[in-house]
């Protein structure tokens, strides 16, 4: 499938310094459509959906929010720290969605590994199937995040 002019504009919005300092693309120079397609294929191969991943990420964030920045243990499997700042981040697809400025840090007690994400990460996965470009600070590789979240 080809990149449409509309997606080209979205990709511009995703560049560093447009909406956020580091942007959403990292060092990935592929067209947005190709980034989305590759991750979509991987999610399909894993027998998952974007909703399943987004739901688990959101559940962990909601639990972590109860700590106001302090660690919260979830299901005896994860330690979540939600660090909230003022303001909102508009979705780069510019359809009116706003996500709070929050950093979610989740540590898997079993894997002894951390992931970081934000509410806009959850929105981009759920609504746009976009896991961010390779090298992006908040990229969640579909297979790695699925393993981390104990979904596969």
């Amino acid at each position: 499938m080809k990149q449409t002019p509309d997606l080209g504009k979205v990709q511009e919005n995703m560049k560093a310094g447009q909406i956020t300092g580091p942007g959403f693309l990292g060092s990935d120079e592929r067209n947005l459509i190709d980034i989305i397609r590759e991750d979509e294929q991987k999610i399909s191969e894993l027998g998952l959906t974007n909703e399943i991943i987004a739901d688990k990420l959101e559940m962990l964030m909601r639990q972590g929010e109860k700590g106001f920045g302090s660690p919260i243990v979830v299901d005896n499997r994860f330690v979540v720290i939600v660090d909230e700042s003022r303001g909102y981040v508009p979705c780069p697809f510019r359809h009116g969605n706003l996500s709070k400025k929050v950093n979610v840090n989740v540590r898997s007690m079993a894997l002894k590994k951390d992931i970081d994400y934000t509410p806009i990460s959850i929105h981009l996965i759920r609504e746009h199937g976009f896991y961010q470009g390779k090298g992006s600070l908040y990229r969640l590789d579909p297979e790695e995040v699925a393993k981390f979240l104990e979904l596969i």
Binding site: G17, T20, G69, S70, D83, R86, G87, V89
Partner: protein, 365 residues
Amino acid sequence: MQILITALVLGGISAVLAAIISVADAVLNNYGDVKLTVNGSKSYTVKGGSTLLTTLAGEKIFVPSACGGKGSCGLCKVKVLSDIGPILPTELPYLTTKEKSENVRLSCQVKVKGDISIEIPEGLFNIREYASTVSTIKDLTHDIKEVFFSFDDDINFRAGQYVQLIVPPYGEIKESTMRAYSMSSQPSIKNGVELLIRLVPNGIVTTYVHKYLKEKDEVRLLGPFGDFFLRNTDADIIFIAGGSGMAPIKSIILDMKEKGIKRNAYYFFGARSKKDLFYLDLMREIEKEVPNFHFIPALSSPLPEDNWQGEFGLITDVVDRYLTEQGEIEREGYLCGSPGMINACITVLGKHKIPENRIYFDKFG
């Protein structure tokens, strides 16, 4: 040879098309001079084509904006009296039903394409731009800096208000960026303001302040803005803050000290561990000097090496315990911190019969 000629011809056609597009853009998007009327009485002749926020700033009328026109804070609302077309999808999330019916618009999203008439609070004509020099930068914690910005002009503000800090382009950031910060200095200091700036991961302005800003640098500030200030009543005061939310509360407390205000005041300051605490000595000093002022720091996750003997737990739980012990008293709440903390505090204060209209907080986020 034929390939070369084809490439040259295609290149030529592309160049001509680009030139036509460029000329068309200049002609079609040239709105010429337009008349901007503010509050029915003040008229300005301005160049059309820019956003209303930028156009107003060009006339030295500074509408509050915490995001600097990125459409992500919703602060820059103005009432538009002219027909400027439908509300844009980027404005919708910020507007209430009432605001939509009154044609309140986000000035950063609306473009000035023709004569336009708007209404803004008269107070905005007092907002000024200050060219400042950074006098001092101090580390208060691992992620909060105290920065003092000096300027030649006097600033008049109410303790608790905020300014907008404008940082220049740097690195990948191609445009000046503006963010709102509460002043932590008291209003009696006229030739500058102190801000407390916490490093937000990937934050454009906070990264600049923490990684690039140096003493003697020159930066611009706009202000003062905001309606977060101490109300003139006799009610007991409950201050609650966390992190850099200390800033406006510190300003208010120092102002109370200078003005000899002796109202009962309890300041609950929440932090994760001891490394996130600061100004302890200052607050203890104020406790000694200001009758009826009580400072209650609380740690939610103290480290073993902290040897913490003070209040422990989430700040909401600590506040709840104190207020339960005190019983029912007429109180006001003044909150500054993350939106999540503010929401949780409103619930706790409500449980103790402090109505929402007597709970004050700034509305940056």
